[in-house]
């Protein structure tokens, strides 16, 4: 049976990608962020997962409102880099694991998740920033990826509870897969921030620290939170934090926290948490 060996919650702020591309990892403004991921990279290079499932949201690179999916999953050998509106980042295409993608999609659809299946997907900051933070692409990406895009921008969004249940179903699908197959699962986005409206720049670090506590110790309050409450407390665009619940749902009830970081230089609480399952 397959196994989930790592659960990671991390922000996916676009400026992190810019800083990465400019080589500013050690600058005064950015080192408090990038330094926190060095032990994470080391940890992951020791665990060596076969695949990382990255729960992220498209920001207008692949999907438009003509046909906007609630949950979309990639099933390709390769995902090229996309242009989000600001030029193409110079990164190699992202390797996929088609066999595992189809296995996962089969199990999810038969378990009543109504997936949009994508044999072509272009990758953008929502997906790439977490990759850049957690893995090195030198000389090549050390594992394969499954992109899982969630609608967090056009309401109605899936509920937090639905996201958590999707995580549970993903765990079951992984456990139904080949022996010795190991998976890292990511929930990305957030933390508190607001980009639209006069309330632009709103932040709530207290909320973010509480969210990090709860995602580790007891996610029940997060699972039952409405989008309204999440937007009121953390900012309109922070509603994307529901994607962390996909990750949390895929982990065991009790988890051990390995890393945690929080840095808030500009408009977004940049959070990080990494978890391992506590086997009962």
């Amino acid at each position: 049976m397959g196994k989930i060996v790592a659960g990671i919650g991390t922000s996916h702020v676009p400026s992190i990608g810019v800083a990465y591309d400019k080589g500013q990892q050690k600058s005064e403004a950015w080192s408090p962020l990038f330094d926190a991921y060095e032990p994470v990279q080391k940890w992951l290079s020791e665990i060596k997962p076969d695949v990382a499932i990255i729960t992220y949201n498209d920001h207008g690179c692949d999907f438009f409102f003509d046909k906007y999916p609630t949950f979309a999953i990639g099933a390709a050998d390769k995902y090229p880099i996309g242009d989000e509106g600001f030029g193409m980042r110079q990164l190699p295409p992202v390797p996929g694991d088609t066999a595992f993608s189809w296995h996962l999609i089969n199990e999810l659809v038969y378990n009543e998740f109504d997936i949009t299946v994508c044999q072509e997907l272009k990758m953008e900051h929502g997906f790439l920033v977490p990759m850049n933070l957690c893995f090195s692409q030198e000389p090549s990406w050390p594992l394969k990826f499954v992109p899982l895009a969630v609608n967090v921008i056009q309401h109605p969004l899936p509920t937090a509870a639905r996201c958590f249940k999707l995580g549970r179903a993903i765990r079951n699908a992984v456990e139904d897969y080949n022996d010795d197959f190991t998976v890292a699962i990511f929930g990305t986005g957030g933390m508190s921030h607001q980009l639209s409206g006069e309330r632009f720049g709103y932040l709530n670090s207290e909320f973010d620290e509480w969210f990090l506590d709860q995602i580790e110790g007891d996610p029940s309050a997060l699972i039952s939170m409405t989008h309204q409450e999440l937007m009121e407390r953390a900012g309109v665009e922070a509603v994307e934090l529901i994607m962390w619940l996909v990750m949390r749902g895929a982990m065991s009830d009790q988890v051990e926290r390995i890393h945690r970081n929080y840095y808030v230089p500009m408009t977004t609480g940049m959070g990080l948490i990494t978890l391992e399952n506590v086997v009962p």
Partner: protein, 119 residues
């Protein structure tokens, strides 16, 4: 049925991107969605008006763009991520776009932040 939005609790200075908002701002967002190649951005920049003709923008929507009235766009159903592709063509990065919505200069906005170099 767990409703997720409470219409009685308007969040000050916020415009939730619901279905009806998405419908209202559809043409604006479609224009934004088109700007994902150097060519498209160059043609938009070179001749705004004729580029706008390709989408079914109303006169009001065209004026919002001509006036760089970003908060007006948001109120009119522009989704922030698609609007951001439009404003970028005019040099308004995410934080400049934000500052304008909040009615501040970029410099004023930066002064409210912890690390003003982390842009």
């Amino acid at each position: 049925m767990s409703q997720q939005l409470d219409p009685d609790r308007k969040i000050e200075g916020s415009y939730i991107f619901t279905g009806p908002m998405s419908q209202k701002g559809y043409a604006l967002n479609k224009l934004g969605a088109s700007l994902v190649s150097d060519d498209a951005r160059a043609s938009f920049k070179a001749d705004e008006d004729s580029y706008m003709e390709r989408f079914e923008l109303t006169e009001t929507q065209k004026k919002l763009i001509r006036d760089r009235n970003w908060i007006g766009c948001v109120k009119g159903g522009a989704n922030i991520y698609f609007l951001y592709k439009i404003t970028s063509v005019f040099g308004d990065s995410l934080y400049k776009l934000g500052a304008k919505q909040a009615g501040m200069s970029y410099e004023e906005f930066l002064r409210t932040r912890k690390i003003s170099g982390a842009t």
